[in-house]
């Protein structure tokens, strides 16, 4: 295939949009500054439900590659093998104002596999790790990762109709997260509940930001 070469340097006269010549100022829409929060957790824990409950658009899905590391739990060899795998990631957004937009990215993690979320967490405010108490260990990779990355995170136990298999102290105990990591319960189906969980994430993010900016 050959494409028409595109001149890198245009004189103002040459600038065209579509077929009409339009001054730059009239065309330019300043985009909002995007900020993002990650919603992570095992399969079927309610990530998409969480994103959908708060998003102003119904969650969109995209496919992404993640580096995946299988870890010697069943096969305790010294070498860990790295592969890439395609995962479905969903996202939604909340417009804060004309100049600020919050994105939520729902991403799976899976027991016994660790995903590399490096791109995902770059610039992120923090993460909500969604937990289903029937399968607490599904969230270990996410907790491990965010802990290592120094990303503020909150553990949110999705109550699934008020059914809490364990109480929050038990969840905290099982996860062995630091004292300053909030462990809370929420209902992924309700906007107010998701909003409150995200506010706790933001509170953690604010602490980190103030600390970073204080010296």
């Amino acid at each position: 295939m050959d494409y028409e070469p595109f001149p890198r340097q245009l004189t103002p006269d040459q600038r065209v949009v579509g077929t009409a010549r339009v001054p730059d100022e009239q065309r330019r829409t300043t985009p909002p500054v995007p900020v993002k929060i990650i919603v992570a957790g095992g399969f079927g824990v309610g990530k998409t439900t969480t994103v959908g409950a708060i998003s102003e658009i119904s969650p969109l899905t995209t496919e992404a590659e993640m580096t995946m590391e299988s870890i010697g739990v069943d096969d305790p060899g010294p070498a860990t093998s790295k592969t890439t795998t395609t995962i479905a990631m969903d996202f939604g957004c909340v417009t804060i104002d004309k100049t600020l937009k919050l994105y939520l990215f729902g991403t799976p993690g899976q027991s016994r596999f660790a995903f590399m979320w490096d791109d995902l967490i770059r610039g992120a405010l923090g993460a909500l790790v969604v937990v289903d108490t029937n399968r607490i260990d599904d969230c270990y990779p996410a907790v491990d990762y965010f802990e290592r990355a120094g990303l503020p995170f909150v553990v949110g136990v999705n109550t699934f109709d008020g059914q809490l298999g364990y109480n929050l102290d038990e969840v905290r105990w099982a996860l062995a997260v630091r004292e300053d990591v909030p462990v809370l319960s929420f209902d992924a189906r309700f906007r107010g509940s998701v909003r409150d969980a995200l506010l706790v994430v933001l509170d953690q993010a604010l602490h980190k930001s103030i600390k970073l900016n204080s010296h």
């Binding site: 985009p31 969109l60 995209t62 496919e63 992404a64 590659e65 580096t67 994105y103 099982a174 993010a205």
Partner: protein, 144 residues
């Protein structure tokens, strides 16, 4: 450490065996770029490029048509991206709306930027400042 409660659920050991991943995982940032082209289709669309995507172009990064872009013949995927970005759009949204793999979208957006078709609104890697976070908090609180 004592375990609170005493029901019949299977118990897990507390530290440090609880989360067996702690010891084995490399720190974030150590994953290799360039190992993201394992499937055929993305490889074809991006003309076989195997270098990692531009780190400036993340999922939430805003992309819009370059005001000075001249109309030119583009392959279908690229044309579709340019058409969508008349209004600023995130890379993730472009990917979702066009059913394009995210990695492919990032590479194509990078190419379109290099060729002067798209403006990529690059943000620094700095953690957001307190004022920005406060604005998000106020904005979310206003949601009912």
């Amino acid at each position: 450490m004592t375990y609170p409660g005493g029901r019949d659920h299977p118990r897990r050991d507390a530290a440090p065996g609880v989360r067996p991943f702690l010891r084995t995982k490399p720190a974030p940032g150590q994953s290799e770029a360039g190992d993201t082209n394992s499937t055929l289709r993305p490889f074809v669309i991006t003309s076989g490029r195997v270098d990692g995507p531009d780190p400036d172009i993340n999922m939430e990064t805003q992309v819009s048509v370059h005001p000075g872009a001249a109309p030119t013949r583009l392959p279908p995927e690229k044309r579709a991206i340019v058409t969508l970005c008349v209004e600023p759009l995130s890379v993730a949204e472009i990917s979702a709306r066009l059913h394009l793999h995210l990695g492919v979208t990032r590479i194509l957006v990078g190419d379109l930027r290099a060729d002067g078709h798209l403006e990529v609104h690059v943000l620094g890697d700095d953690f957001p400042d307190p004022e920005t976070i406060m604005r998000v908090i106020r904005g979310l609180r206003a949601i009912s």
